[in-house]
């Protein structure tokens, strides 16, 4: 379980050191407030709730105003942009995906604004369910879904930009 906690923490903050501090503090607080955990309830969601609250308390989150959020393109945008750079008229999807580098994913994810990124990190990277993400972030499930959808679109747009610049 700690691997999953770390995986999420690592993408919620900028550096490995911050992520390690955050995970360590999360476990320290969890052990201190163990009596607040109700046996039989979702332990990993409880831990992640502690982690996200600590992260907010540390003031590491710089909230963006809505007009600074990237414009959104549709769900096919990344595919269409990548395909347009290829000489092959009808490449298969694996070859299109090869246009992306692993490093560009790390950089693109860091560009997604916090509120959106947190949901994406929990669901797509931490493999938490919508219900768990809602519990962890203390937002309704519908908000999880709408933020997730926007987060993925923003990520794909960032990936397209990075692939075009490469």
């Amino acid at each position: 379980m700690s691997d999953q906690v770390y995986r999420v923490a690592r993408r919620m903050v900028s550096t490995r050191e911050e992520a390690e501090d955050l995970v360590q503090d999360t476990y320290a607080r969890a052990f201190r407030s163990w009596q607040q955990y109700t046996p039989g309830t979702n332990l990993r969601a409880w831990l992640l709730r502690i982690l996200t609250n600590l992260n907010i308390d540390r003031g590491r989150r710089v909230q963006r105003t809505p007009d600074q959020q990237p414009l959104e393109e549709g769900d096919y945008y990344l595919y269409n942009r990548l395909e347009s750079t290829m000489s092959d008229d009808n490449p298969d999807e694996d070859r299109v995906l090869e246009r992306l580098s692993q490093n560009s994913v790390v950089d693109a994810l860091a560009e997604v604004p916090h509120d959106f990124r947190d949901v994406l990190v929990l669901v797509d990277i931490g493999e938490f369910s919508y219900a768990e993400a809602a519990q962890i972030l203390d937002i309704p499930v519908g908000t999880v879904m709408s933020r997730l959808h926007r987060a993925r679109r923003i990520l794909k747009q960032q990936l397209a930009e990075k692939a075009m610049a490469a």
Binding site: D3, R11, R16, Q24, Y27, G74, D75, E93, V106
Partner: protein, 75 residues
Amino acid sequence: MGCGCTDCEKMMQPYMDSVLTDEEIAEAKEHLAACPPCEKRFRFEERLRVFVRVSVDEPMSDGLKAKLAGLRSLL
């Protein structure tokens, strides 16, 4: 571009997340079977999700593992 049907593009995320009704799933599948450009974009999306997860994975350091084990032993 895909087949130009924006309905399909809108259905991509809910389809991937398995939150459509049975009727909507049947509708999407029927369309995808008849529309190779959309089908390819849906397959790309599936692979992209895995690629994103794998790309950002960074294992915990041994130092952190040891610290967490140390915290546990305090219980």
